[in-house]
Amino acid sequence: MNFNSSPFLALATLTFLLYYLPGFTRYQVAILIVASLAFYAYGQPYLLLLLLGSVTINSVCSFRVLQAESQRRRLLWAASGVIFNLSILVFFKYNRLVAEALMVSLSSIDGAGSLLLALPLPIGISFYTFHGISLVIDVFKRGDPKSIGAMHLQTSLSAHFRQTLLYLTFFPQLIAGPIVKAHFFYPQICPKGFRNIDWELAFKSLITGYFLKLVVADNLQDQTFWIAYPYFLNFSSLNLLFFLFGYSIQIFADFAGYSLIAIGLAALFGYRLPINFNFPYVSQSFSEFWTRWHMSLSSFLREYLYYPLGGNRIGTARTYINLMVVMALGGLWHGATLSYAAWGALHGSALVVERRFRDSRLYQGAGRYLVVVRVILVFVFVTFAWLLFKLPRFEEVVAFVQAMTGNVHQSANPLFIFVIALYSFPVIVYHLLYLLKKRHPALLERAQPAAYGVMLSAIMLNSGRPNAFIYFQF
């Protein structure tokens, strides 16, 4: 069920009305759970089995960690939870990749195995398995003030199961994040009042989110469609450059738009989700980019993988290895092909190289010219790296780059350039306003109502063809 579909609007409205009905306060968690399960089951009800199975096992494992009397048994249950989550992720998402690596022909597998392998990738699996991992690890960290007391965990299995069911199925974040850590979400599970809704946050997030998705991303999708083999072979270098630029804007608008919609929806029900994008295209370094892009994933990988591997505490060489491993696995999380791992490794390499040169004038200089050069450098690198997202086969990426460098003498079609520039303009303005906000806060504050009014008008007047969110495929 897409956030921009009529069934979803009907479901969200009905849920909202029931949620705040007088006398229904004690049923709020149940209402959200039912709505979330309906949201997930729409179109593919059989996938509910896997989701509910995941909830059950994560509940049991995390509850056993809580109840275990020895550190050893706590570790055992926590490890079981993590292994279970990773196993289902590997099985459903990476079965083909693993088979290729083991040189096993998938057609040679029969019976129940072939039936399972034939299942489509369960939507949202990358997200709810990560939530499951966060839960068992956060509960395991007993000495950490973030766990138990602060997490408001329950002492009975049934109550804990209900909380976990909400955490793993909460519909704003279920399909495509943000990845919310358990210690951030659990303390929020309590009765909510209509008067406590953060209306400003909800409306601003929803309007901006739907604008980025419906007006920017959906319209750019019809232009970047041409980044597909063999169509891109016919275009001039300039057109291809703009298509790639347009894709960079599209993927930001699509994903940031989704995240903002999720934040806005959650706010309507009294829950806060973490910010997932913080104007990433103003980044002056790759490390800064990863503190601004898909922040919830970066934070998750940092806390649950990078730090446990040693982070930057075990020497330079080990730091570089840790960066490469984390980024490659982060890339692989996005998709079950080597091109995604390559994308992650590319970013890992950039981070490693950057560390080597971070004391250089290029990185340390504060002059305006150097700032602009750094921002452009990061943006260009990130944009070209997106090719590995858009074209899953390496040979097509190579063909695209060859066409980009080889079709210089072919005449460009200005229509494509004009359209991409028009639809990219709001995202550029969005980033510039972020920079201007520091200098002219009062002016921008006064212009806000008009800006939101214009965005709402654009949603009504200039929405594109409805498309699924890009990150739904992960």
Partner: protein
């Protein structure tokens, strides 16, 4: 909210007064949507309407004349066009059905979005809500007058031989892929039901075989489509039109889509056929 409704209201007023001419769309889908909405909302009733794919879409309006609407839609098939004709208020005298790639399923999402009751009425009352008058489309057409290119596909007008060869190879590969028999049967059954509906309204039919590259004429998909249709709608009972049966060769951009000069020739000949069908 006040700002939003003010903007929409003022924009609607501007569009109603200015009536900007829209010839170019931002994308293929946008163009499809504009053509479909024009067919649904325009007060002028055309005598003939063409339904088809991007092959028939290449037939220029100047060759077809003012009484024929070309409702051929890129990336979808004639079944989608027929569904629009079925649901729309307009009652054409003649419907021309492109046969080369007829078996593409109806794009239900596209058609439902056009005819969903609330949105249909809103677009009828507020033309500014129609796709044609989206601010970006208006801006594109305003700027287009400063450029020489006339359509989003004009880049394909004169491909170089290497690109033509590559695209022909790709198209040959696609059209030699055997489609599922059940999908084919379903498409044919659907077409039969549309034909029955049109005939019950007294509409005359023309089955159009668009000229394509000779190697693609013999491709599995096109050859099979034509054979199945001729079996279901034989020459003896239905009017079939083709323009390349005397060995005449028409040039294409990529094996499938006619270049402009040849498309103009075909459209003029088709116009004669349409006029003849209307007179009978």
């Amino acid at each position: 909210m006040i700002c939003c409704f003010s903007v929409v209201f003022c924009y609607n007023l501007l569009i109603s007064v200015w009536k900007p001419g829209i010839d170019v769309a931002a994308s293929q889908w946008s163009l499809n949507r504009i053509k479909a909405e024009r067919y649904i909302y325009e007060p002028i009733q055309p005598s003939a309407v063409i339904v088809g794919t991007s092959l028939a879409m290449a037939l220029p309006q100047e060759g077809l004349g003012s009484q024929t609407v070309n409702l051929s839609l890129g990336a979808v098939g004639p079944l989608t066009g027929l569904e629009i004709v079925r649901r729309a208020r307009s009652r054409p005298v003649v419907v021309i059905i492109e046969t080369n790639l007829f078996a593409r399923e109806v794009d239900e999402e596209f058609v439902d979005a056009l005819f969903s009751p609330g949105a249909y009425l809103a677009r009828e009352v507020f033309p500014a809500l129609r796709h044609e008058f989206q601010p970006v489309n208006v801006a594109i057409n305003f700027a287009r007058r400063q450029t020489k290119r006339s359509s989003s596909e004009s880049f394909l007008e004169r491909p170089n031989p290497e690109i033509f060869r590559r695209m022909l190879e790709v198209n040959r590969g696609e059209l030699d892929r055997v489609p599922s028999a059940s999908a084919m049967d379903a498409a044919l059954a659907k077409l039969k039901s549309y034909i029955a509906t049109l005939e019950s309204r007294g509409v005359k039919l023309i089955f159009l075989k668009m000229p394509v590259h000779h190697t693609l004429q013999k491709s599995y998909v096109i050859a099979n489509n034509i054979a199945r249709l001729k079996e279901a709608f034989p020459d003896s009972q239905y009017r079939w039109v083709a323009f390349d049966h005397h060995g005449e060769v028409f040039q294409t951009k990529d094996g499938l889509h006619l270049i402009y000069p040849d498309a103009l020739i075909v459209s003029r000949r088709l116009r004669s056929e349409i006029e003849s069908a209307i007179e009978k």
